[in-house]
């Protein structure tokens, strides 16, 4: 389903993209690069500027400065050409409460000048099927649960063939089962070659399905790349399993290991440039009984917390 061949090879590309609301800088000179075919996890705590960035990408909000392009087409001039190929969910679902789910989709389809009315019914059914809402299609939207609303919004994004899906917190308000379903839906869409940009303030909800990550903090994009690249950017961690954690901790500190933490039967710390072999021999030389020794990259979770500073607290 994807189209390739744009010179940039990027489904989304921004340079110095900035948005100010009065004094506040909501998005601060971000350079986003979402390769075609990627599932790009756009992470950051609440208020870090994800939705504002997405609004700029979709032409809803005019940037204060910087440039953006979608599917190789610069915005705003290319919006008319790019947006029909982009399905989106922005800041939660929004529909007419007194219309049925089906009528709401029909309305969006009617508004699309490129949509063929002869195929509308079939496309609407297919989109409803895809999100498992066919049975509730005739119910009024106001009677939908939050999970059903979220699914209807995803169905709306799938009404037409797409090259790019921009999903802003698609798992918000879903139970674990619903979250899993959305994840697997995103996975199957990506398998069809659709590029997916999915934002979340919860790393755990998207990390399994992402090929790329972009991490926002207070309006800035603090890390970006493939999952491996972003992970590799994080500090290494050494763990020592021992019956003498205090003695081991002293040795590690002496060697210059930072952030040394002692727990029952274990010590861990950040070795910096220090070679792991040197740590082991120093421990042995000091007579510390080593039961186990591991060197690992920081867990994505820890990395996310360290990148976004305040963890999951609201920023800005």
């Amino acid at each position: 389903m994807s189209s390739t061949g744009d010179a940039s090879g990027l489904a989304v590309h921004t340079e110095g993209l900035t948005k100010r609301f009065g004094q506040q800088v909501a998005v601060d000179a971000i350079g986003m690069a979402v390769p075609r075919g990627a599932v790009y996890g756009f992470l950051g705590p609440n208020g870090s500027g994800k939705t504002t960035t997405i609004r700029m990408l979709l032409g809803l909000v005019e940037p204060s400065s910087g440039s953006r392009s979608l599917l190789g087409l610069p915005l705003p001039s290319g919006a008319g050409q790019a947006l029909p190929r982009v399905g989106s969910l922005v800041e939660g679902p929004a529909f007419h409460p007194y219309l049925s789910g089906r009528s709401n989709l029909a309305r969006l389809d009617a508004a699309d000048p490129l949509a063929d009315p002869r195929t509308a019914a079939g496309r609407i059914d297919a989109a409803l099927d895809r999100v498992g809402l066919r049975a509730a299609a005739k119910k009024r939207y106001r009677a939908y649960s939050l999970g059903m609303r979220q699914r209807l919004a995803i169905a709306a994004a799938l009404l037409a063939p797409r090259d790019l899906l921009v999903l802003d917190e698609p798992t918000n308000g879903l139970d674990p089962q619903g979250t899993r379903e959305v994840r697997s839906l995103i996975g199957s869409l990506a398998a069809e070659g659709i590029t997916v940009l999915v934002s979340s303030h919860l790393l755990a909800e998207v990390e399994q399905i992402c090929s790329h990550l972009g991490v926002m903090r207070e309006g800035r994009l603090v890390a970006q790349g493939t999952v491996a690249e972003v992970r590799g950017a994080g500090p290494m961690l050494v763990r020592v399993q021992t019956r003498q954690p205090e003695a081991a901790a002293a040795v590690l500190r002496e060697l210059g290991v930072t952030q040394v933490v002692t727990t029952v039967g274990e010590v861990h710390g950040t070795p910096g440039d220090l070679e792991p072999e040197k740590i082991v021999s120093a421990l042995v030389y000091a007579g510390v009984g080593v039961q186990g020794f591991t060197v690992a990259v920081t867990s994505l979770e820890d990395l996310f917390v360290s990148l976004t500073g305040e963890g999951f607290d609201v920023s800005g």
Partner: protein, 296 residues
Amino acid sequence: MSAVEVGSGTAVDAGVGAGSAIRPRRRWSTRFLRSELRLIAGRRRNQMGLLVLAAVPIIMAIAVKVSTPGPGEGPNFLSSITSNGLFVPLAALGVEIAMFLPLAMSMLSGDAVAGEANLGTLRYLLTVPVSRTRLLAVKYVSLCIGALWGVTAVALPGAVIGIALFGTGDLTTLSGSQISFGVAVWRVVLVMLYLAAGLAGLAAVGLFISTLTEQPIAASIALLIFTILSWILDSVPQLSWLHPWLIVHEWMSFGDLLRDPIAWANVLRGLFVDGVYALVFWLAAWARFSSKDITS
């Protein structure tokens, strides 16, 4: 203002990529407009509004019927008016154009943009994508059709009950002469179109206000206040220099369409002012909306 939806931009250039998502542009379509009209007509509150508009002529007709002396008994003047049922829709329109019909327009225009912003559906329409110009054009055309529905909701039940209760005799014009029922029907249609044009001018003001807020109720109230203020200013003799430019000023001139022959001067002046309002405020709405950040 052309009552036609026009998609923005040129035909999609199929040269970019080879995605199946490239779809041929269908240049002419009234699908969005029809969907918009269904949305307006399907809304329970609007249906109730139409019932209220329709109730007024019915109440008036019954009241006149009950209080009118039988033929030959009363004064000649009254019986000459009530010999044709079409006086009912005309009188009802005269009553309702002051406040009820503008109130109806306030409700519809409040929903138009502010209502969609309030629900959040505006952002999804714009990312379909619907160009902002097209959105405003469709919204405005649907308001104009809403204005026609409004006057029809008054005139049609009025005509039906008027004819049922008072018959289809000759209509006495305001000039005192008599015109046949057939001619009178056309005069009523002219009055309906004239008043709908006035409401369409008002709707442009409402559309503009609707782009300023995300609260549909606030937009509705603002247009209602605008209407009431216009009527108040129109009644202050010291402001006579302003009167020709108040949208409501010539609305009551619809009576000139019931003269024999029709006195066109004030009616044409009224249509001109309606047109100026429609143009100026639609452009103001466009200027405001086309550059607005949609953060709802």
